[in-house]
Symmetry: C2
């Protein structure tokens, strides 16, 4: 199998297996119990918490473990302070976790505004600027687009927001950025930041929200008061500890992994330009994640190409997996011409991929386009 859909989810590191097993079958204690075995488990959770905060270069604050990145995003959207008729700004390119929460807030009567995105999938700074005013309570702009890999300049964006909307809380969904690029939350200037485990080779079912000191976030889930009251529920100890292992693994080989992925992307770009010149590269190569290349092929539907490749055991994405069963709102935003509009395919890599795999995949795409490129066009 060739797995080029690592932005959807990743294969767990084999190194996480033992920690999963250990905290499920040996140190399986409820962290809230009163005996020392439980305190020890709590300490393990807190150790991972510290490691993740270090990786984020976070300012003073809390990291709250959740059941997913989506849950962390929802804590932000529904838990931050808002006044009557407050303006809430998110980008058109946000993941559904933010976008659909924003629609729900609009439904509740808030003044929800959507920032335009450029044709590379980054937020349009001028559009953002035009929406900022004194009435803004919350801005959520993703760090890296899950659809194109475009990096948003959060530092610039934060400064712009602080200057024009002094009361605004600034959040960024960093699910596609965490573990992929260097992150320095102190420099980026955001108040809240979402990360997720399963995008960095940890198990599914664990995310986290960074909350800067002094920023109020109401819990989404009430109960036993775990996670300092921010998120009640018995902690997913094994998942959290596996998240820690995955983070440590990723950080220890960060530079090598980055280069590996980046080389694969560049090689794929060169191969496509050589063999399929009609394919349009959407990802902004000068400012993007190391692991994502989104391409619009001509005269074929992305979904058709996905299924053709699948027959050869090659797995690719056609944008956010989470919304792939719906007609994507995203492809409408990229200002593609008619011949390319439906041909979007997202290739996303991990350090486990190889240049040789790219050769195979491009060859398969070439023959698919030759065979199906015209008559499958609807």
């Amino acid at each position: 199998m060739i797995y080029f859909d690592n932005a959807a989810t990743t294969k767990m590191y084999a190194e996480c297996e033992e920690v999963l097993r250990h905290f499920c079958t040996e140190e399986y204690f409820n962290p809230s119990a009163l005996y020392a075995n439980s305190t020890k488990v709590t300490n393990e959770i807190n150790r991972v918490r510290e490691e993740l905060l270090n990786t984020l270069h976070a300012p003073q604050g809390e990291l709250i473990f959740t059941g997913s990145g989506t849950e962390a995003d929802n804590m932000v959207m529904f838990g931050t302070k808002k006044w009557k008729n407050a303006r809430i700004i998110v980008s058109e390119g946000e993941h559904d976790a933010i976008y659909n929460s924003a629609l729900e807030l609009k439904q509740q009567g808030y003044d929800v505004q959507f920032v335009s995105i450029t044709k590379s999938g980054a937020v349009d700074i001028e559009s953002l600027k035009s929406l900022l005013n004194e009435n803004v309570a919350l801005v959520s702009i993703m760090h890296i687009s899950n659809e194109t890999g475009a990096i948003n300049d959060l530092q610039k964006i934060s400064k712009l927001i602080r200057a024009n909307s002094p009361k605004a809380i600034i959040h960024s969904d960093g699910v596609q950025a965490f573990g992929k690029i260097d992150i320095n939350l102190r420099a980026l200037g955001v108040d809240l930041y979402t990360i997720s485990g399963h995008k960095i080779h940890a198990p599914k079912g664990v995310g986290a929200l960074f909350i800067k000191k002094g920023v109020f976030v109401r819990p989404l889930i009430f109960g036993g008061g775990q996670e300092k009251g921010y998120r009640s529920s018995t902690e997913n100890v094994a998942g959290i500890c596996a998240f820690g292992v995955a983070n440590a693994m990723g950080q220890s080989k960060f530079a090598t992994n980055y280069s590996t992925k980046r080389e694969i992307v560049e090689y794929l770009v060169a191969k496509l330009r050589e063999n399929i010149p009609s394919a349009q590269i959407i990802t902004p190569l000068e400012n993007c994640a190391p692991n994502i290349l989104t391409v619009a092929f001509e005269n074929i539907r992305g979904e058709v190409l996905l299924h053709i490749l699948e027959k050869d055991n090659i797995l690719v994405g056609i944008g956010s997996a989470c919304s792939s069963h719906k007609e994507s709102r995203f492809k409408k935003l990229l200002a593609l011409d008619d011949r390319h509009r439906d041909g979007i395919v997202r290739f996303s890599f991990s350090q486990f991929n190889t240049i040789e795999e790219v050769d195979i995949v491009v060859e398969k795409i070439v023959s698919a386009l030759n065979e199906f490129g015209n008559f499958v066009r609807v």
Copy 2:
């Protein structure tokens, strides 16, 4: 180690290890992706869903996977329909997931009422009756008390509610009941029912909510629309599949496991009556979970006894682990005399425990009481 705190959490079945590994490192695909590998994973999730619905003998409806029982409880408390000034009824003995959510709803202006509990920890039916009227929007009564193991007669309770509060949605937190006693949701007559994985030897981080057909529950978490839109987030595939394995294991040996636990409880009762006649049995033995025995010892604090036993590697609870770091609101409710009030210890068993362990534990308690029973009394 002797682990007598299985109501707090359980050791995962070794049989779950392989399924965890498999869905994290082999079939690790995002269930929402479009290729067949993802559809296969989705089918696995749905197979587990059907198995759990079968175990529950559920009427037509949905089972929605969540990150915890607490999350499922919160979906009920905040997601069901309520009108202005609607009455919401929960019992005084509810788990914090319900109790603290109820306090939050009270804060929001709803007419929140608490049903009294009897001294065995079951809900007082007369108290419930007195609170029912036409204005009740929601009633949440746990199936089995996590503090005492008392079983509430949900069938009787449901009928009473339907007769007096026709608009009320009826929920039960079945976290301590699922896998412990036979459950027939069709007979019990509730609309919503919460279960959790880690109490039945599955991993932490997975719960589920049963929603009867026609009952409206608004999502707590918006996003990609997973779980039929009820709970967005990439599914915790491995955790869900391990939940399935644990359920199947538990069901296949249900009668044997039930007897084993029940015998241990009865043996402990007999040993306590013989050796520590001053100890008061709180659990209502004629109508209780097979695995919980809650006892009030005389002239010693439960917490002190817990720490003494811990030194001999014996782990017991002193009530809900989730609220064990706070002064328990529960012990005030049991109408114990001054000498017993602070002496509550909860012993909770699994089929992995033995009669021999009970002998050891009772012996340790006897010597602890002899040594510390008087002067540690505050």
